[in-house]
């Protein structure tokens, strides 16, 4: 088995991968908020 320190297959470090995922979530929630506002009467 590989060790816990094994790097991710992209973005170089796990810290960067986690940051990318959290950024994605912020963008996604923002898009849903805009969608909610835009579709409200």
């Amino acid at each position: 088995m590989n060790q816990p320190g094994e790097p991710p297959p992209f973005l170089g470090t796990w810290k960067r991968v986690y940051t990318a995922v959290l950024t994605y979530v912020v963008v996604l929630i923002s898009v849903l908020y805009v969608f909610s506002v835009a579709t409200a009467p």
Binding site: M1, N2, Q3, P4, E6, P7, P8, P9, W14, V17, Y18, V21, L22, Y24, V25, L28, I29, L32, Y33, F35, S36, A38, T39, A40, P41
Partner: protein, 559 residues
């Protein structure tokens, strides 16, 4: 269902079970049977985790919930990606390093045997209840389609799941899940396409979105904070995060999935894949429910979505005035919708147009309530709820032959996947944390393999028996989440103590779990606080109690 539907349904189910069994044919050791020999790649684990969550309940209840309550339920998943990141950074490497079969095994290494026994006992109770509900949902589907009783369908479904799971182990379950997710995506796209395609010619997709928005069905984000409001961005981010932390970090049915990973990196990627995909998938499913709501503004749905109850009500002498009122309310709402769209196209909507639309919906809902009252009267009960039949009514009455079979097959196999994963994890905890730990410590690998198979069969039977009581719950998905929230807070708290509070010892952890569970049950019994907050409350009480008790009795081996 038409002959083509039966062919599609049985063809898919036969393929799915056969494929799973074929992939799991070499599960000759306990490690193979329970952890797939720790050989799984990230995409298989990730899809399997998604498939376990995307149970039949997801299709039946989530779409119905969106139809009735709009899309605000999606906020429930906002905290999930944050939880996935936290778990990837903490729990995944810790569990992998400990080389455990269950999360609760780790608790004995960190604390003591009684803490492990307490938490594994909580898991067995909580997951056992959820497994019964997950089995009940597809039984509803088949009983409606086939005209069988819920009990008959539950027994048949349960038997199939037990055979499949007992034989193949987690490898069979995981690889079958991978196939299943592909078909789930196809079925979801088809269902949405058909809901839009079946609308009248003059109603475009954007018109449908406009109408759904006018009724507040597309309000996916609510920023107003309210303790008693079940779904807003704050309860979703905070409460949802705690629930996801508990579900993926302490619930063996999920932990076991990523323990099958061939490396820490592969397990992490499987969780992060979920972090990325879960919200869009739930949004998509809820959006289908909202589009079905709009479709039924132009295509008249039955007064009652439960076909058996509808047929019974229609034979009542009191039904005619109810039916007449319903028909009139439907036509009035249809006209109001068309009028609103016309005004929208002219760019001249007024508050009066919107009020006319909403008032027609209130009258329509009231007419439907009259129908529900007839059902209550005939049954001698109160609070009849047909939310779980809305999507089924759409599928069986309006979709073409073949697509109906495919969607029913997906619901069926989704249930098999969810229940098989749950009973597999229940069996793992029963054998590893109870039987091997307390009753038979020095058996052979073959002995524990057979013990695992027998435990799997036992939990399958238990789920079938419990499923017989599933009809007493409202929207099923909320019931499952509710049950989880009563127990997850205590479980999460003890794992947080284990990971991050090295000075807290066994007695502090044990007292913490008891205090946390007491706090959750008190909140449930004496307050109106939304269940999403129970995990936060429970976890914080566990931490406070654990730290406090350990002031008087520190850990013997800190860290």
């Amino acid at each position: 269902m038409k002959p083509l539907d039966w062919v599609v349904m049985f063809g898919w189910l036969t393929f799915l079970v056969s494929y799973g069994l074929w992939r799991g044919r070499k599960s000759g050791t306990v490690s193979d049977y329970l952890l797939a020999g720790r050989t799984m790649p990230w995409y298989a684990m990730g899809l399997s985790i998604m498939a376990t969550q995307a149970s039949a309940i997801t299709f039946i209840s989530t779409t119905g919930q969106s139809y009735v309550d709009g899309m605000r339920f999606v906020q429930f998943y906002f905290g999930l990606p944050v939880a996935m990141v936290i778990l990837s950074a903490t729990a995944v490497p810790i569990f992998h390093r400990a080389k455990v079969y269950t999360a609760y095994e780790y608790l004995e290494n960190r604390f003591d045997a009684k803490t492990r026994a307490l938490v594994s006992g909580i898991f067995l109770i909580q997951r056992g209840l959820a497994a019964g509900l997950a089995l009940y949902a597809p039984a509803v589907v088949l009983s409606v389609i086939l005209g069988w009783s819920d009990q008959t369908t539950t027994i048949l479904m349960g038997s199939l799941v037990v055979i499949y799971t007992t034989t193949g182990g987690i490898k069979a379950i995981t690889w079958a899940d991978v196939q299943q997710m592909a078909v789930i995506f196809v079925a979801l796209i088809l269902a949405l396409f058909m809901a839009i395609h079946l609308m009248p010619e003059q109603v475009s997709f954007f018109d449908a979105v406009t109408l759904a928005g006018a009724f507040g069905k597309l309000k996916a984000v609510d920023t107003h904070f309210d303790w008693n409001n079940r779904y807003n961005i704050w309860s979703g981010l905070i409460g949802g995060m705690f629930l996801a932390l508990a579900y993926f970090g302490c619930d063996q049915s999920q932990v076991q999935r990523y323990l099958t990973g061939k490396s820490v990196a592969q397990s992490r990627l499987s969780l992060l894949f979920n972090a990325m995909a879960k919200i869009p998938m739930q949004f998509f499913i809820l959006f289908i429910g909202a589009m079905v709501f709009v479709l039924f503004m132009f295509v008249k749905p039955p007064v009652i979505f439960h076909p058996v109850e509808m047929e019974r009500a229609a034979q009542s002498t009191e039904f005619k005035p109810v039916g007449d009122r319903y028909n009139a309310a439907f036509e009035a709402r249809k006209q109001a919708a068309q009028h609103y769209l016309d005004a929208k196209h002219r760019g001249a909507t007024s508050p009066a147009d919107l009020e006319e639309l909403r008032s027609s919906q209130r009258e329509f809902d009231s007419a439907r309530q009259d129908g529900a009252k007839l059902v209550d009267k005939a049954r001698g009960s109160k609070g009849f709820n047909d939310t779980n039949y809305i999507f089924l009514s759409f599928v069986t009455n309006y979709l073409p032959a073949g697509v109906v079979g495919l969607i029913i097959a997906v619901i069926f196999s989704a249930a098999m996947s969810a229940v098989s994963g749950e009973i597999n994890s229940l069996a793992t905890v029963t054998v590893i944390d109870v039987y091997k730990r307390h009753f038979q410590k020095s058996g052979t690998d073959r002995h524990y393999l057979w013990a695992s198979r027998i435990a799997t069969a036992f939990w399958g039977v238990y789920a079938v028996v419990f499923a017989g009581r599933g009809g007493g719950f409202g929207a099923l998905i909320e019931a499952v989440n509710m049950i989880g929230s009563l127990f997850y807070g205590g479980m999460l708290g003890v794992f947080v103590l284990a990971f991050f509070f090295p000075k807290v010892g066994a007695n502090g952890a044990f007292a913490g779990v008891l205090a946390g569970e007491a706090a959750i049950f008190a909140a449930n019994h004496f307050t109106n606080i939304s269940f999403l907050w129970y995990n936060v409350i429970g976890c914080l009480v566990v931490l406070a109690t654990g730290v406090l008790v350990s002031k008087f009795e520190p850990a013997k081996y800190p860290g």
